[in-house]
């Protein structure tokens, strides 16, 4: 069952198109990583999903209900954590957590609230004015995980958290996943995405360019290969799916496209393989390739015009 479903979602701010026909599908019970370069449209998509922004075109639904029309009903089942949490300076962290819970119409199950405060090492008696960035983030995280939600929408939820707290966060996500809840996680921390997410979607310049499991995506990426053969290796350059061929003292190094791997190996084996090393693409490589792409200049102009 699809929890989040968008169809040709488009959002324009005046003349600027922030989202251009985004199709996003998140299944029940999965953790979906939503990644892309700065200004790609992640937060905009999320804010449309929360009914905070109104889509210019296209459909977006959560649990089968329209996100704009049924926002209030839907939000009873959704917990949201923004990346930049601004709180009321003269309320304490504890007060804010209770407020958020009661606004969602929830009571924390049992001692869930205390347990989370304990785990995140948060002092709930301090005024929000005095919290550090990470501590403000913790307030939002505790409020989100303490109330029972069916869908967690997290937009760079760990920005400012220390590595220890980052781990606590990952445990929390794993727990809700084990309970069969759904999570949409936007993040720039790739190791976090790799560890937590079942599937990822990559957005760039307002368009979804890739979506699938990490293995699927890896498959689309290049593996770096190093081969040493008895006979001189010929015709490699002309083979489909081979890139960056270089001679390295008697050996040849190159990049191979995942889906062309079979043909490449067949070709190489004809020359008598002495040594073959292959390094699987790191997640970094994978993302770099997608992030840079041809749409690179969009991010560029964006950087210049945003003051």
């Amino acid at each position: 069952m699809k929890v989040i479903e968008t169809n040709g979602l488009t959002k324009r701010f005046g003349k600027f198109t922030a989202l251009n026909g985004v199709n996003l599908n998140v299944e029940q019970g999965e953790v979906y990583g939503f990644i892309g370069p700065n200004g790609a449209g992640k937060s905009t998509t999320i804010r449309v999903l929360l009914g905070i922004l109104k889509a210019t075109e296209g459909k977006a639904s959560i649990f089968g209900q329209d996100v704009w029309k049924n926002a209030v009903e839907l939000h009873k089942r959704i917990a949201y954590v923004p990346g930049d949490v601004n709180l009321w300076p003269n309320l304490t962290g504890g007060e804010v957590i209770d407020l958020m819970l009661s606004l969602r119409g929830k009571k924390a199950a049992g001692n869930r609230r205390e347990e989370l405060i304990e785990r995140f090492k948060l002092d709930p008696s301090k005024k929000c004015r005095t919290y550090s960035k990470g501590n403000r983030q913790k307030v939002a995280l505790v409020s989100a995980f303490a109330g029972e939600a069916d869908l967690f929408i997290l937009d760079e939820p760990t920005s400012g958290l220390d590595p220890l707290m980052e781990r606590v966060f990952q445990e929390c996500v794993a727990e809700v996943k084990a309970e069969g809840k759904t999570v949409l996680l936007s993040s720039h921390i790739l190791s976090e995405v790799e560890r937590l997410c079942d599937r990822v979607g990559i957005i760039r310049g307002g368009e979804m360019i890739e979506s699938g499991t990490l293995d699927d995506l890896r498959h689309l990426t290049r593996t770096s290969m190093l081969v040493k053969t008895k006979e001189p290796l010929e015709g490699l350059k002309d083979l489909p799916g081979v890139h960056d061929v270089k001679q390295e003292d008697g050996a040849v190094s190159f990049q191979a496209d995942g889906e062309k791997m079979d043909g490449i190996i067949r070709h190489v084996s004809r020359f008598g393989v002495v040594k073959l090393e292959s390094a699987p693409p790191t997640l970094e490589d994978l993302f770099m390739r997608h992030y840079e792409g041809t749409g690179g200049e969009e991010a560029d102009t964006d950087g210049r015009t945003t003051v």
Binding site: F13, R47, L50, G51, I52, L53, K54, K69, N70, A71, V72, E73, L74, H75, K76, I78, Y80, P82, D84, V85, N86, L87, W88, N90, L91, L99, M100, S102, L103, R104, G105, A140, I153, R304, T305, V307
Partner: protein
């Protein structure tokens, strides 16, 4: 659908009250106490019937009308009539300011800071933030109305009766609600809280000026202004309720409009266009002073225009005033004017005091921006670069000083030019100029006090507004209500020689300037030593 748009309003209203319980109590108490204590002070004032009638005589003149609104019930000028005539406008402005500040704080300012986003991700209606703000503001204005009404009646002056007091309170509440509506509307139109505050205050200023001109020359104009409208209640004398209902009605229309626009727009968006800016910083912007000017450019220009308009509208009254005095031989004898000075010039001194105090607002805003920037953590951008504390504060201080002279100059030029057009016997520019500029040292003390607070007691820097409010109260109303001298002398404006009626005393001005300098030096020293909040 409607129910969903507003769901959670009650909960959010309670959050509003929880956040601002102190702020709300202070505002309400201050307004009610001010009203009640003024009424109480009447018991000892204007004893004889003759004195009351002499007072009534002065109230008929156009300068008074421009400042306080049209006099009424002058044939039998009892305490009730005095109270409503002399206090209602002033208190309505105070109530309006309260409404503007509170509504912005809970609508656009919260939105700008991203707190509304957090709220909106919860099962809360799209209109609930605005709705809860208006619910609370209605409660607050009702509280002001009822407490003022009951409080005034309880003072126990015969002519300040219950029916009139209730109407007086209701008029305040209605004016407050009107400006809550205005602000709610601008909070939808403008994209920033600064813009919202600016536009709302522009409407307040415009309403005051429109009323001043209308009251003096054409009644119709006054009826367009909410402030003019509520003065038509003529509390304690005729007790007309219709202006209250009309004002509330218009406020209702504004609110509906605000709700409609809120529904139509994206969160954090507005309707007024924001143009794309320059790609590169001009040479001017690249210095701390340039930055302080650039950040406040819009405010600076708006205030400059506002001051000219204020000057022109006061100046245009002077012609009527001259004619009034010429027509009334008796008045001249009662007031026994100095032979060398026209009555017009005597009134000029009073106008100057008011103008000088209004001109103190923009320089204080310019100075306090330093604190605002600190609170937002943006001063760090300067201080972590090669900019000293002294230079940082100095930039804002310099701007405030320039603004103080500029605003006074613009207002007085407007006044003189308009007066020259309407008077048979125009005043010399040098005289008018002098009468205004003598207030500069007092304005500098106010700036100095702001510098001092920012440098030494940063938590209390907002108190400078309370001090200016106090100054306004004692100078603006002190004359009418005959406050004791020492109350006036708690404010620097109380010491300023009232040129041309009084002798120009350089000693006094030098002492005032010295006090300002001491405050400034202490403030700079403190700023260099203290922690910068972030």
């Amino acid at each position: 659908m409607a129910e969903r748009l507003f769901s959670g309003t009650g909960r959010l209203s309670r959050l509003f009250i929880r956040r601002d319980r102190l702020r709300l109590s202070i505002w309400i108490t201050a307004i009610v106490l001010l009203n009640v204590s003024t009424a109480a002070s009447f018991t000892g004032l204007y004893m004889s019937e003759e004195e009351k009638q002499a007072m009534a005589g002065t109230m008929e003149n156009p300068a008074m009308t421009a400042m306080l609104g049209p006099g009424y019930g002058l044939e039998n000028y009892h305490e009730g009539a005095m109270m409503a005539h002399q206090m209602l406008l002033f208190m309505a402005v105070v109530t309006a300011i309260m409404n503007i500040l509170l509504v912005v704080r809970h609508t656009r300012a919260d939105e700008e800071e991203g707190r509304v986003e957090l709220i909106r991700s919860l099962p809360v209606g799209r209109l609930s933030t605005l709705a809860s703000t208006l619910v609370v503001m209605t409660v607050v204005n009702t509280a002001v109305a009822l407490l003022t009404g009951v409080g005034l009646a309880v003072v126990g002056i015969e002519s300040i009766d219950f029916a009139g007091s209730l109407l007086f309170g209701a008029a305040l509440g209605a004016a407050g609600l009107f400006f809550a509506g205005v602000t709610a509307l601008f909070a939808q139109l403008s994209e920033s809280s600064r813009g919202t505050v600016g536009l709302s205050f522009a409407v307040l200023g415009g309403a005051y000026i429109l009323r001043a001109i209308g009251d003096v020359s054409s009644e119709g104009l006054s009826l367009v202004s909410p402030l003019g409208l509520i003065l038509r209640t003529e509390a304690y004398v005729n007790n007309y309720w219709w202006p209250v209902f009309v004002t509330i009605g218009i406020a209702g229309v504004l609110l509906v409009l605000a709700f409609y626009l809120n529904l139509r727009r994206d969160l954090e968006a507005g309707f007024l266009p924001s143009r794309p800016g320059k790609k590169q910083a001009s040479a001017f912007l690249k210095s701390p002073f340039g930055l302080s000017v650039r950040l406040q450019r819009t405010a600076l220009i708006s205030w400059a225009v506002g001051m000219v308009v204020l000057g022109v509208s006061y100046g245009s009254v002077l012609g009527d005033l001259e004619a009034f005095f010429e027509a009334s031989e008796m008045m001249r004898e009662i007031l026994a004017p100095d032979a060398a000075l026209s009555l017009t010039e005597q009134y000029l001194t009073m106008l100057m005091a008011v103008i000088a105090m209004i001109c103190t607002v923009p320089p204080l805003m310019m100075m306090l921006k330093l604190k605002g920037e600190e609170k937002k953590g943006r001063i760090d951008h300067l201080l972590t670069r090669v900019v000293s504390r002294g230079r940082t504060m100095g930039s804002y201080f310099l701007l405030a000083m320039i603004t103080s002279a500029l605003m006074l100059f613009l207002a007085v030029s407007g006044l003189w030019a308009a007066a020259a057009g309407v008077m048979d016997d125009p005043m010399a520019f040098s005289m008018v100029f002098e009468a205004a500029m003598v207030y500069l040292p007092a304005v500098w003390i106010m700036i100095g006090a702001a510098v001092f607070l920012i440098g030494v007691l940063p938590k209390f820097s907002g108190f400078i507004w309370a001090y200016l409010g106090y100054t306004f109260l004692v100078v603006y109303l002190g004359e009418l209500l005959q406050f004791p001298e020492w109350l006036k002398n708690l404010s620097p404006f109380g010491y300023v020689p009232q040129v041309p009626v009084e002798e120009l005393s350089f000693t006094v001005l030098a002492v005032l300037t010295l006090v300002a300098a001491v405050l400034v030096i202490a403030g700079f020293t403190g700023y260099r030593r203290r922690d910068i909040a972030g």
